[in-house]
Subunit: 211 residues, 2 copies
């Protein structure tokens, strides 16, 4: 499997998107899918599908298509999502509560194993998934003890940068930031900032073109 | 201003991302930024910044850089985000509540003007932003009356497709779907599906490479 660092991030994101309709096709009993059909389901062009997959080797049979199950297994290997990732969430406001109950995480192997909140009033409460909210001061110990690899930040914006630094100091190497401010990037940690307004800008751009 | 339909979606997304550090620079009093510095702040390469902006005309002064305020104004024009977009939210669970309180929406001109929930028990409650939750049966009338352009879906997954169809029947041309299922695309409506696991897959891929 190629791990060429020159593979564009956009390709990685599309590869991840390709897996969504493949899961649906598989659960519906479809065995084979053409690059044209897969492209249509993902709203990209077929040449893009073939190019993205070509970074990782030879898939599919010319004139027939891709085996749905095989392609899904390969994509999960490429994305290293064929295993469980252990996650901590910090911040159990509305966003945090939405995230811990989000059914796609568990389904795709992303499992919250511990939850923290900076608010002492929330510490000790039990979440719908059975986790009990822990205090921030327990974070360094619990991150190590529970072998957490990914930190998810859903705090108030004013707390997000501090929480990121606490997570990084505790050894976390990847952060999904769902707070509305951008976390400053650090050498030692990958940060993905979730920003809904990027999606809205994309809609606005295309709506604007229609006028 | 070019409205060439061949401009890649990835370019539109990056243009949107470029505006984030520009806003910070402007509020910090910085007048000029080089493509190198802007690229560094956005974690892309400088050639990418120049290429993306070149789709839309000539910006900046060779050897000096971009005027921060001018570039921000131009980007907002390109993205048609130099105006207010009126939005409806459907579904006021944890995700919906997080969205209506999300400070980036208003800041970038995306304004919730009406809120709906399929649960009759929630109808009539007031939200922190002052809106009162309305019943779904009022949706067609209110969407037209309030000139809503964008629908945001944050319902339970089982309700999302039905809600999308109600929004589209009411004349909505753009949907941001924050529920955990993908909405089937429709001819007459743009749909952006927010999927946090795409961001997690991207982190997992890069973490996996480090092992």
């Amino acid at each position: 499997m190629s791990k060429d660092p020159k593979i564009p991030d956009a390709t990685i994101e599309r590869i991840s998107l390709y897996s969504r309709p493949l899961e649906l096709l598989l659960s519906g009993g479809t065995m084979v899918v053409s690059s044209e059909r897969l492209a249509e389901l993902c709203e990209v062009n077929p040449a893009q599908v073939r190019k993205d997959l070509s970074y990782f080797g030879e898939f599919g049979v010319r004139g027939i298509g891709y085996g749905v199950r095989d392609l899904l297994v390969e994509i999960k290997k490429i994305l290293v999502s064929d295993r469980e990732w252990r996650m901590a969430i910090v911040g159990l406001g509305n966003m945090g509560m939405a995230l811990v109950q989000h059914e796609n995480f568990n389904k795709r192997g992303y499992r919250f194993v511990v939850a923290f909140d900076p608010d002492p009033g929330k510490v000790g409460s039990e979440l719908p998934n059975g986790l009990v909210i822990r205090a921030l001061k327990e974070l360094p110990f619990l991150i190590e003890e529970l072998e957490v690899e990914v930190g998810v930040i859903a705090t108030q914006p004013g707390q997000a940068q501090t929480v990121a630094e606490i997570l990084i100091a505790a050894g976390i190497k990847a952060i999904l930031n769902c707070s509305p401010i951008q976390i400053r990037q650090q050498e030692s940690c990958l940060v993905e900032n979730v920003d809904f307004t990027v999606n809205l800008d994309n809609l606005a751009y295309h709506l604007g073109k229609k006028d």
